[in-house]
């Protein structure tokens, strides 16, 4: 009953086998938990644990096994223990878990109803696109006056309370709460998707805050400016870069989405495992102060105003990204869109909210439960305005993604600020 643990990994065609030798106890259980999470992070959703040479398991070890089972089942995958040693089998049976954890088919989901996907390969990644809501469209509306940002000159006159039900996605500068006075010390980047609103406060706390739609509660954000889009998405595109292991630039995901609706403005919401986000966020609320005009984007003042690192942040996180892109922005949205591709042909505006790592289920999934699960489990790390910095020398590049799901569709209506969505 010697101490220690050794884990040997076998890669098979569609699954991974981990052979675990030694003790699965309170001291070593986390070692196995990390190995299992590494498998999930690689996008492998079928795992067998060979415990023939595991000579000991305690409840701490069982906890890891049950957690793994739940995570694999949660993403539509398979998790099973094979060849348990007699002692391990006895303890797992005593815990009433034998019938569930031993064997080969536990947790396997059927794929009989899976609709056909259009499959393409590009940049070393695989893209599978499904019809989502075939007749859905999006209507978008700009709010506020973004031209006041360079001088941090916002006052109560420009701000607007945005109501954010489940069929709206929105982004901009704002704060949770109603009214300029209540929010003036906290205005920062916000992002709202599927009835969940998250804000990056600028009051020095640096802890992102969020509100989730529940019962009759619908999140509201007081926005200095922003874009809100209402409606549905026609397509769902899954992308996966595990064959190459090389992450995909966000603009490449966008290019694949735009291929389905060429020449139109596009709205999208995306959930993906991040290999690093390149973004910026405000450090201070950009509201009018007594000290005269500010120069937010000029050196050296920019350092006081913006948090930006040339290194990508939020690696090994899950990112929720939402925004709009267009190669011919309509008048209503033009002040809010900036070039986001190397040639400058496509303009857009995207914000990202980063969460702790959660594996994503493969195949055709729904936006609302995926987003709700991320917010439910906590772990919101921050919200940033995404940047694309393609200067040949010294440019930071752009955000990189490993795998994910992107819901997107055409924007067929632009609403003036005098109208409601």
């Amino acid at each position: 009953m010697a101490g220690g643990m050794e884990i040997i990994r076998e890669q098979r065609t569609n699954e991974v086998v981990l052979k675990v030798s030694g003790r699965l106890d309170g001291y070593w259980a986390n070692h196995l938990a990390e190995a299992i999470h590494d498998v999930l992070r690689e996008g492998v959703h079928k795992l067998r644990l060979n415990l023939s040479r595991t000579n000991y398991v305690s409840s701490a070890g069982i906890r890891v096994l049950v957690q793994a089972y739940k995570e694999f089942v949660g993403v539509g995958g398979t998790f099973a223990i094979v060849y348990p040693s007699p002692g391990v089998k006895q303890v797992i049976d005593l815990a009433g878990l034998g019938p569930l954890l031993f064997g080969g088919s536990a947790g396997e989901t059927t794929a009989a109803a899976e609709p056909q996907a259009e499959r393409t390969e590009a940049d070393g990644c695989v893209f599978e696109t499904y019809s989502h809501e075939p007749s859905a469209t999006l209507a978008c509306r700009a709010a506020g006056r973004p031209e006041l940002l360079p001088n941090a000159a916002f006052s109560g006159q420009e701000c607007e309370v945005l109501t954010l039900p489940k069929d709206v996605f929105a982004l901009g500068l704002g704060a949770l709460g109603e009214g300029f006075a209540a929010c003036r010390d906290r205005f920062g980047e916000f992002l709202a998707v599927a009835g969940n609103a998250a804000c990056q406060p600028t009051d020095g706390t640096n802890y992102a805050d969020y509100l989730v739609a529940s019962g009759t509660l619908v999140p509201k954000v007081t926005a200095l400016y922003g874009i809100a889009c209402r409606g549905g998405f026609r397509k769902l595109m899954r992308f996966e870069c595990s064959p190459s292991g090389v992450p995909l630039p966000f603009s490449a995901v966008l290019a694949q989405a735009r291929r389905h609706f060429p020449g139109t403005s596009l709205g999208l919401a995306l959930v993906a495992e991040s290999a690093g986000l390149l973004g910026a966020s405000l450090k201070r609320p950009p509201v009018a102060a007594d000290g005269g005009a500010q120069r937010v984007f000029e050196h050296p003042e920019i350092r006081r105003w913006l948090s930006f690192s040339p290194e990508r942040a939020f690696t090994r996180s899950v990112a929720v990204i939402a925004g709009v892109a267009s190669d011919d922005p309509p008048q209503q949205l033009a002040p809010l869109l900036r070039p986001i591709t190397p040639d400058g042909a496509v303009k857009g505006h995207f914000h990202a909210a980063a969460f702790g790592y959660h594996p994503l289920q493969k195949g055709r999934i729904e936006l609302h439960p995926v987003i709700a699960k991320l917010f439910d489990t906590g772990g919101l790390q921050g919200i940033v305005h995404l940047l694309a910095d393609d200067r040949p020398a010294g440019g930071g590049g752009e955000s990189l993604l490993l795998r994910g799901a992107c819901w997107f569709g055409p924007i067929d209506r632009f609403v003036s600020q005098e109208e409601t969505l």
Binding site: M1, G3, G26, Y27, S58, A60, V91, A95, G96, L97
Partner: protein, 143 residues
């Protein structure tokens, strides 16, 4: 198999309330079992039960100070292994813990709560008392 029936065949160990101490505990249990040729299945059950109690005290006992907060004693008496487990944590009688949910969908089961169930299942008797500011458990295992 030879069982040592000398009543002096007992040993004890004092541990800090830290997860890192579990390896030392395991090595000590293994050493005792090998010296006294305890059968493999009883050896295994002893390991599971004592680790469960130790981990519970370390994680939830709020032992302060952590140094020397846990003491485990083993005594071989004929065909019976007697275990005492003492910790300076907050009062906790594991025998009052509700039984875990052992049936139904795994998705609906809470993770945890199994440790005490394993201790009660693997030992022949478990008694608890709170005395002198300590939790004291007396366990017996037939060999």
């Amino acid at each position: 198999m030879t069982l040592d029936t000398d009543p002096s065949t007992e040993d004890h160990i004092r541990l800090n309330a830290e997860v890192g101490e579990l390896e030392r505990l395991t090595a000590w249990l293994d050493g005792f079992c090998e010296r006294h040729e305890i059968p493999d299945d009883a050896h295994y059950h002893l390991n599971v039960a004592v680790e469960e109690l130790a981990l519970n005290a370390i994680k939830h006992g709020r032992c302060s100070p952590a140094e020397g907060a846990i003491e485990v004693g083993l005594r071989l008496s004929g065909q019976e292994l007697q275990i005492t487990f003492t910790d300076t944590g907050i009062p906790f009688n594991p025998l009052n813990a509700p039984p875990p949910e052992l049936t139904g969908s795994i998705a609906d089961r809470p993770i945890g709560g199994l440790g005490i169930h394993l201790v009660r299942s693997l030992m022949n008797s478990v008694e608890y008392e709170r005395a002198g500011g300590q939790n004291r458990l007396r366990l017996k295992k037939d060999l």
